[in-house]
Every structure is written in structure tokens, then in C-alpha cells.
Amino acid sequence: MDTSAFQAWVHEASLLITEHATRLTELDSAIGDGDHGINLRRGFQAADDMIEKSESDTETPGAVLRTVGRALISKTGGASGPIYGTGFRQAGKALGDVTEVDAVLLGSALEAAFNGIQQLGAAQLGDKTLLDALGPAVVAYQAAVGEGGDLAAATRAAADAAERGLAETIPMLARKGRASYLGERTIGHEDPGAASTALIMRALAMVAAGETS
């Protein structure tokens, strides 16, 4: 994947999140404060704008992701801002200044995102956060690469795993973020952040497969 593929990923993620913003917000209304779709649409649209207008440094895949991270942190407005922002920044750092990213390097970037988010928010797997979608996605991605899969295959495996991970958040009890205030009442609902992670991973798979708009 080259720089323009990463730009396409951000654009596609922004489109998917905008399309599903209402659902994300509804999920957050059930177990949080009802703003996740609004927050993330604002954040991703800002990130996408920043990249399209080349207001910032977007000359390498790593620079694109680092710019997205900055935009998400400063524009999102909810917990998901620093969380996703840190993920994208760490991923961008893992990519360094290469101009072409292969399947192995992308795997390292996804791992760096997971670790950065884990360190920032101190959530464990099973705490009903977006890590419960991102964790399985990273594992599935690495497994696919290990079996010789290319970028398209590995990112598809990751997106599928993120969706399964999302489904598995339903019976979980939220232990982090605003949803944790609701305790038992969070059981029976998808985690909004896990739902947005599934969309972002799907966008990546679409771009890697050349299926984007």
C-alpha cells in the first residue's frame, strides 16, 4: 500500500462512519452518552479534510496516519478522540518514512495501534471497549499473514474478526469509559467503539482489495 492507498483508507473510513453515524450514536445512547457517531464523524471528516487539502505533511503512509492521529485527537471531542488518535499516531510511527507498506509492516503498525491504545486507556480485553474488536482483528491479521496471505487477504481477515469481536461485546459488562457507570445495564448491547473499529477495519479491507468508491 502506498501513500495514496492510506489516504483512500482514511477517506473510506470517513464515508463509512458518516454513513453509520446514527447507528453508532444509538449504540452509545444505550450504554453511554449518545455521541459516539457525532464525535467520530466530526473527527474523521476533519482528518479526511486535512489530508485532502494537504494542509499537513502527508507525503508518506506514516505521515498520513500521524496526521490522522493529530486530527482525531484534536477534533473528536469524546474519549474516542484520544483513543483512536493515539492508535493512528502509533501506527504512523511504526511505519516510519517508508513509501510503500507491505503486509508485514502493516501488521506491526496494527500491533502498535493496539498497544498504544491499551497503554493510554488501560482497558483489558473483555472490558467492552473497541479493543475487543481491534484485538481479534490484529490476531486474525497476523494469522493470515503467517499463512502467506497478502494485504487483501489479511485485511479482510482482520475486518471479519473485528465484526465477530463486535458481536462478542454484546454479553460483556463495560469496565472502562463512560459506559462503565452503567454497570450491569451495559450487558446486551454492542459497544459503540467496537462498532466503529469494525467499520474502520472494513474500510481498510476495501481499500486493500481495490473495492473503494
Binding site: 484534536s74 484520544p82 486507556g121 463512560r178
Partner: protein, 133 residues
Amino acid sequence: MTEGLGLVGIVLVSHSAALAEGAAELVQQISGGATVVPAGGTDDGGLGTSTARIEAAIDDAEAGSGVLIIPDLGSAVLSTRAVLADLAGETTARLVDAPFVEGAVAAAVAAGGGADLDAVAAAAEEARDAAKF
């Protein structure tokens, strides 16, 4: 901020601009000259946090002796950490786990009395256990 020169500054990070501003106004009354700066709401004033407001507030509160940051809810912690990660090395600002209003009052009083950052942070933390009646 010449008034609080040499004193520890306090930043109140809240999801609500009104909450941060009201708390800062109340606390400023008894802070003995220490600077208390609100950082509440999103960039457009809605409910949420703004890293730009947090960063600007840290800057405003710095009077040479460090800054103590008190967050209202857990996600204010995340935003603040993202800001501090950016400022790494350039700031002595410190995030403390303390009750928002009560910690701010205790911290501001300590800061106004000339306490250093460690002591101001300890005062904020101890507010957790103070009885109101």
C-alpha cells in the same frame, strides 16, 4: 498571569464549559492568588473535551512552579494524557486523580499558600476523604 507568579497553577478539565468555568470562578475566590484556569467543553462549546483548550489552559496556568490538572470524568483523563504526550518534556503539568470541585478547592488553597506541585497534588488527593458535614 502575574497574579499567580511563582505559585502552582491549576487547570480544571471538564466535559462542560459551564462546569469548568463555574468551578474555576468559585475556587479563584479562595485561591489566594493562585491561577485557576478552566478547560471545559469541545472546541465549539458542546459537551466533551478539547485538547486545544486543555493545552491553552496549561499554558495560561503556568507561572513557573508547575501546573496541576484535575479532570472531571475518565475521558478527560484520556484527552489530557494525549496533550501531555505531545508536550512531553516541555511541561511540568501533572494529572491528579481527585474529586473535581473538592480537589480544586483544596489544591487552590494549597497553591495559594505557596505549596509546591507535590504538596498541591497531595492536597487535591486528600480532598477525597474530607467530610462536608
